[in-house]
């Protein structure tokens, strides 16, 4: 081996020497190994890949997969012959004298040093290396630095090293008043009160900042703030989307996210519960609520829509979303063809899709399966039932029955029916039922009757004629295992049918009959009920009756959840030709792309997928998540393209820091989010001042190297929350249905929908922004103006803009003006002159005393307005909604304060 290696090396050295001289491109004759990722790939990406990629392979030559690049091209030549640049068509073409033959076509030729690099790389064997993000992170060495008195933790070592290499120096610590406001806004999304600022400013202990951080991480507002980041990724909204955009109850999921952050749920658990909570052994109700993550997809109930088309559309969104959120990988490219830039093949989209294609939800108005919370007395009854069952068996069995009652699954529905006669299936748009007539027949294959005691028939009958339903097994005239009369119902009802004698897996025949030839009813499906334990108990029948009652009890609220279809009635997944769901090719089973599954392991279901995402085997999740949190704090990620770590994404500014944090987060910190955030905010890097030095302005205008703290505009929700907070209006009420604070008339004029914006009263009008009712087709106006997401799809980063419409919001939106008036009211009764009042008002808003020059500006504003209002008393009354002229001018001043740049930005 060694011998061979040295031979190759020698051989190549000699050859290279000769070739380099022939090329006359000034090649230096060093024999350092060319690194594909840092040296070759950037040249290929820049110059070649748009024509020779994974989709477009001009001349039959593509550079995504090695075997492709090494293969024969259309003209019979070989693009790359490892070890032999002189035989490689690629080299011939990039150095060709004839412009019409030379690559890249119609562009400047590659630079001599680029040609040299490629030549050398081919000569050294043209070895491919995966893109950095697909290689597992390795423990980086924490750099030694010479300003270690500045550094507070390892982060600062990585940052400082880069600063030094760019001849930059870190900035000093921010003023304490600014720092405390910054960390409040970053960790809980709200500014500190004056008392909180003062407590920190006056605390001279060495760990004063750490104490504040700990306190904030323990605050319930922490979860609310970070939930709003996650809800952008989860595309959470209170409506279903599309035409009528009707309401959807899914706020319990929002509350689950808040609680998960507040409890500091480890991120691996956070992942598994949301993606596959329903597949966990004995899942709790919370586990099920978590799965609503992927029920935030749009639902189209418009007349004439095909439910299957929009079901698939949702499944596709779940695939794209999962890959973007956890892997920052642009899987959506692969839906129609192989990835143009990353080594992922077309079929692999559908192996990913197979994980998500087997849940029983469908694009129907009821949004089943839904988790029901019952009215209080029914909840008590359900508790009793559960307890009774647990007492006769185990807690686990009790839980299982609770889930059965709350969700009503597993249900066999029309898509599972094998054969039907005399029925009409209404399954378009707003319809979702099967109409059965006299003589109707439904056959369902392969139903496991093991331990099945009754079948609940979910149906609705509006006519008075009586019908009968007979259930047979094996054949049309097989043994009857159940039978029931059918009568008029009050809406859809679960009718229990006792099953006798069925123990095996059998084909079931449901036969409908009636004396009336006009008989009909509408059916939703058949729910299979297991045998209730405790048969010998005297209360047995009573409990059974209670269960039947609870199955039909009205829900207090509902949450759509994920439920996996049974094996016998699972869906198959096929490759869609060019992404078209109507044109199906080969059937595939669930798997993850080869690129990331080098061990060829098997992945059976969503639970396997979720566990893999947070396993040691995954190179991306730790980095992706660390980067998301970092980006939220610093306004830019270590990888700038938070949503794309692929070939087309940006290279990390601090790759070793990213890996160091990712390995800590997924390793010794056990996915502890609070620990991660604390480590970042207690770094010296985070605590720098935001003042831009002349040096930094020239050398680091975009603050890529973090020689100062970024100044970042607050988010849409933060801007409103802050205005309400500093004016004393903000409610601290948590959780529950979304609220409708004041919004102007006429914002909601959606077709085919009677839903109205009903302005919330009392404290509900002043809740934090994340509780505001989010209707996709008509989001809360000021949020959208300040770049909030409209939540149709996953949004990894909001793009901050700066527009006059934003100025109009903070100047004139009644919410903001009311906040100004309320702040003014608190200033009005205070003792002191205008200067004192200005200072107090400014302090309430910014947590510190204003610079004297700003005080002067504001005092002048008060003087001028006061003078004006003394001559325009009516206007003053309108502004102040009172007779106090002073309140009017104070309101104008407070409104100005809330429009200062420093107020809507964190320094």
């Amino acid at each position: 081996m060694i011998k061979l290696f040295s031979f190759t090396k020698m051989h190549s050295y000699n050859w290279y020497f000769a070739f380099g001289c022939i090329m006359l491109v000034g090649a230096s004759c060093q024999e350092e190994k060319v690194d594909f990722n840092t040296q070759v790939r950037p040249i290929l990406n820049k110059n070649c890949i748009s024509c020779h990629g994974g989709v477009k392979q001009s001349g039959g030559f593509g550079l995504i997969f090695r075997e492709n690049a090494l293969g024969e091209t259309k003209n019979g030549k070989i693009g790359i012959v490892p070890g032999h640049p002189e035989k490689s068509e690629m080299i011939a073409r990039i150095t060709h004298e004839n412009e019409e033959m030379r690559m890249p076509l119609e562009r400047d030729p590659l630079k001599p040093e680029e040609i040299e690099t490629i030549t050398k790389w081919i000569e050294q064997g043209a070895e491919w290396q995966e893109h950095w993000a697909y290689i597992k992170p390795e423990e980086p060495e924490v750099p030694a630095i010479n300003n270690s008195d500045w550094a507070k933790n390892e982060i600062d070592h990585f940052i400082s090293e880069k600063l030094q290499s760019h001849n930059l120096t870190p900035s000093g610590r921010a003023a304490k008043e600014d720092l405390v406001r910054r960390v409040y806004l970053d960790l809980i999304g709200l500014p500190p009160t004056l008392d909180q600022v003062e407590a920190f400013v006056n605390d001279n202990s060495t760990d004063s900042f750490e104490k504040v951080v700990d306190q904030l991480l323990a605050s319930p507002q922490y979860g609310e703030h970070w939930a709003s980041m996650w809800l952008d990724l989860a595309r959470y909204a209170d409506s279903k989307g599309y035409e009528a955009d009707r309401g959807r109850q899914i706020w319990k999921y929002r509350d689950w996210v808040i609680k998960a952050f507040n409890q500091n749920m480890p991120f691996d658990q956070f992942t598994v519960e949301q993606l596959a909570g329903d597949l966990l052994p004995d899942p709790s109700i919370d586990n099920l609520v978590a799965t609503a993550f992927h029920r935030n997809t749009l639902n189209n109930g418009e007349g004439g829509t095909d439910n299957e088309e929009y079901r698939i559309s949702s499944v596709i969104d779940r695939v794209n979303n999962t890959w973007e959120v956890w892997q920052s990988t642009t899987m959506s490219c692969v839906q129609c063809h192989s990835h143009p830039y990353d080594p992922i093949r077309h079929e692999e989209y559908y192996t990913s899709m197979a994980f998500f294609n087997n849940t029983s939800d469908w694009d129907v108005p009821s949004e089943h399966p839904i988790l029901r919370e019952l009215k209080e007395e029914d909840e008590n009854k359900l508790d009793e039932i559960k307890e009774w069952i647990a007492g006769r068996s185990s807690d686990k069995v009790g839980n299982k029955w609770e889930r059965f009652v709350r969700i009503g699954e597993p249900k066999l529905r029309p898509e599972d029916f094998d054969k039907v006669e005399n029925v009409v299936h209404y399954n378009r748009a707003g319809q979702d039922y099967m109409q059965v007539h006299k003589g109707a027949l439904i056959k369902i294959k392969n139903v496991s009757l093991n331990n099945v005691d009754r079948i609940y028939f979910n149906y609705k009958q509006s006519g008075k004629d009586e019908g009968t339903l007979v259930i047979r097994i094996d054949s049309l005239d097989g043994t009857i295992i159940g039978k029931t009369p059918l009568v008029k119902t009050n809406g859809f009802t679960n009718l229990p049918i006792a099953i006798t004698g069925g123990t095996k897996t059998a084909d079931l025949y449901f036969q409908f009959d009636s004396k009336s030839k006009d008989y009909s009813c509408s059916i939703d499906g058949f729910l299979l009920g297991e045998k209730l334990p405790g048969e010998k108990n005297e209360e047995y029948k009573e409990v059974y009756a209670d269960i039947d009652e609870m199955l039909n009890a009205p829900a207090k609220n509902t949450t759509p959840v994920m439920v996996e279809k049974s094996k016998a009635h699972s869906r198959s997944t096929n490759v869609f030709v060019r992404g078209n769901w109507m044109v199906k090719a080969d059937q595939v089973s669930s798997d993850i792309p080869k690129l990331l599954n080098d061990e060829d392991k098997e992945f059976a279901d969503r639970l396997d997928l979720a566990k893999w995402l947070v396993s040691d085997q995954n190179p991306l999740t730790g980095r992706v998540m660390v980067n998301r949190f970092w980006a939220k704090l610093f306004g830019r990620g270590i990888v700038l393209t938070v949503e794309d770590f692929g070939t087309l994404g940006d290279y990390p500014s601090h790759p070793e820091l990213l890996d160091w944090l990712a390995l800590r987060f997924s390793g010794e910190w056990d996915w502890n989010v609070k620990k991660l955030l604390k480590t970042i905010v207690t770094s010296a890097t985070y605590q720098q001042t935001a003042v831009i030095s002349q040096e930094a302005k020239e050398k680091d205008p975009n603050n890529k190297w973090l020689s100062r703290s970024p100044r970042t505009r607050l988010s849409a929700e933060q801007i409103r929350d802050q205005a309400l907070a500093v004016s004393g209006l903000l409610s601290d009420k948590m959780y529950g249905p979304s609220v409708m604070p004041y919004q102007p008339e006429g914002v909601w004029t959606v077709v085919y929908s009677n839903e109205a914006w009903e302005t919330s009263e009392n404290e509900d009008a002043y809740r934090r922004g994340l509780y505001t009712y989010m209707r996709r087709s008509s989001p809360y106006p000021s949020f959208i103006t300040f770049d909030a997401a409209s939540r149709e799809f996953c949004l990894s980063r909001r793009i901050n803009t700066n527009t006059p419409l934003q100025a109009l919001v903070t100047l004139n939106d009644p919410v903001y003006f009311e906040a100004a008036r309320n702040l003014a009211k608190q200033i009005l009764p205070l003792e002191g002159d205008k200067k004192a009042k200005v200072e107090t008002a400014y302090q309430k808003v910014m947590g510190k005393l204003p610079d004297p020059s700003k005080t002067d500006i504001l005092v002048k504003l008060l003087d001028n307005t006061e003078e004006y209002y003394s001559e325009h008393v009516e206007e003053a009354r309108e502004i102040a909604k009172s007779d106090s002229l002073e309140l009017a001018s104070l309101t104008v001043m407070a409104n100005a304060l809330m429009n200062m740049d420093e107020f809507i930005v964190k320094n």
Binding site: L640, N702, V751, D787, T801, P804, K854, I879
Partner: protein, 488 residues
């Protein structure tokens, strides 16, 4: 990054900020561009993205601005433009199986009957275009417009079809054409948004605000909806009791404080904020002014049939002309209520359709004439149409005969018309078969229309891209051809 992007980026690096600003002071877009370039700009890509505006248009534009008149709900081409005497003969006969097999309709089930045209047609103008009796005004301008009878689309439900038409994709979340255009070309005025939307007919279109959303483009490019009552643009007016004097005083204070802040922190974004506040102050005057049709002489209002204070398509047409004069780049009018299924009289292709035509015929005609007499039609592209067509069959929802004459949604053939902006006048383009079911000559797909519109604005729909989630997106996805025959 390919060389094109690389070159733009390199070019940018050599371009000083001052120079860049100078080149981009084209109103809203321009100033906001500046803001995106400040030191706190965290979105590296935006640099090269923004360079786009420096390299656009791709070629000389024929149209500087667009007015899109979207008849939400989809009017029947068979009662308005696409004259089919044969269909009249087939009236009430069962639809042949061949037209139904393998086809999907929104509501038609079983075997519907054929429905003959419910209004009379005559020929007009030098071009001799057939126009229905319910469009008496429009029939006077047929020589100024190109009527495209062979439009087709992929979507037969309103929301997806409207999104498809306006964003190039049937799923919500892509930028609308107006957002693309203002992103690419900026605005031509300093006091108004570059992309404005006016809605009539009592409802917003089925696709909701997504129809004028900015999708993955920065939110400043979303269409700004002007409201029919209250503030024309949300929050444009001062709170009660806040006079313009006091607003000026307070803005002076805000700006002075922001100036101090800039002196301390050196963040150029602060300077940008000062200019945004100044623009907001200007908009407080310019928006209500532009939206005030009482400023128009009586004869002009009469020409459109506009009545101040009413929420009508007529008022919106007049406003569109006013906004065009102010240099607004892209104006969309949505008029709701064209979905004539025959389920009630107002929803019939007889009375219902005629009522709707009475509301739009005069104003849309006036708009073309008024633009023309002001010399604005040459560089203003006007497009009129719905999101799909209607079936030659009578709708029989659920297999049941409907109480009135109505038609179901139809993707295979519909009619739009275009005028101005370098489009040939007096042209009838494309043909459908003798019952108007299917385009048989010169079919124009929705993506072709989009490509053609962009082309008239000087934008090559294949080169005009935006990178998002690792992929270059286009308005026309990977489809679309410019319909050269439509160009003057």
């Amino acid at each position: 990054m390919d060389l094109y992007n690389e070159a733009r980026k390199t070019k940018l690096e050599y371009t000083t900020r001052r120079h860049f600003l100078k080149k981009c002071t084209t109103g809203l877009g321009g100033i906001a561009l500046a803001s995106l370039m400040g030191p706190q700009n965290v979105f590296g890509k935006s640099l090269e993205e923004k360079m786009l505006s420096d390299t656009l248009p791709h070629f000389y534009p024929k149209a500087k601005r667009v007015i899109y008149l979207h008849m939400a709900g989809a009017p029947s081409q068979l009662e308005l433009f696409d004259y089919k005497p044969k269909l009249k003969e087939l009236h009430d006969l069962d639809c042949p199986k061949s037209l139904l097999e393998g086809k999907k309709f929104a509501f038609i089930q079983g075997t519907p009957t054929m429905l003959g045209p419910q209004h009379e047609f005559k020929q007009y103008g030098q071009s001799g275009a057939y126009i229905s009796d319910v469009l008496p005004h429009f029939s006077t301008i047929v020589d100024d417009v190109a009527i495209v009878k062979s439009m087709h689309t992929d979507e037969f439900n309103h929301a997806p079809a409207q999104l498809f038409l306006q964003t190039g994709s049937p799923r919500a979340g892509r930028p609308s054409i107006g957002a693309w255009v203002t992103y690419g070309l900026g605005s031509e005025n300093e006091n108004l948004p570059g992309y404005m939307v006016l809605v009539s007919g009592g409802k917003t279109p089925s696709a909701g605000k997504n129809a004028w959303g900015s999708g993955f483009l920065p939110s400043e490019y979303q269409g700004v909806q002007c409201r029919n009552s209250g503030d024309p643009i949300l929050y444009v007016s001062n709170p009660d009791g806040m006079s313009r004097n006091i607003r000026r005083e307070s803005l002076d204070a805000i700006n002075a404080i922001n100036q101090k802040q800039y002196e301390e922190f050196g963040d150029k974004e602060i300077m940008s904020r000062i200019s945004q506040y100044e623009m907001a102050f200007k908009m407080q005057i310019s928006v209500p002014d532009a939206m005030d049709i009482t400023k128009e002489p009586d004869y002009i209002r009469e020409m459109y049939g506009a009545e101040p204070g009413k929420a009508s398509f007529a008022n919106n047409c007049l406003l569109a002309r006013r906004l065009v004069e102010q240099g607004v780049r892209f104006i969309q009018l949505y008029d709701w209520g064209w979905d004539m299924h025959g389920n009630f009289e107002g929803g019939s292709v007889n009375k219902g359709l005629k009522d709707k035509c009475d509301q739009v015929d005069k104003p849309m005609t006036a708009l073309i004439k008024d633009l023309k007499q002001r010399g604005l039609l040459d560089d203003t592209l006007v497009v009129w149409g719905g999101e799909f067509g209607r079936t030659p069959m009578r709708e029989n929802r659920g297999g049941v005969v409907m109480p009135f004459y109505g038609r179901d949604h139809h993707t295979e053939a519909f009619t739009i018309w275009m005028a101005g902006g370098g489009i040939k006048g007096g042209l009838s383009y494309g043909e459908t078969d003798e019952i108007g079911y299917y385009g048989i000559k010169d079919r124009v797909h929705v993506h072709d229309l989009q490509a053609t519109m962009l082309h008239q604005l000087g934008l090559d729909h294949e080169k005009f891209t935006y990178q998002f989630q690792g992929r270059d997106f286009r308005l026309t996805d990977v489809h679309g051809h410019v319909v050269k025959d439509l160009l003057a």
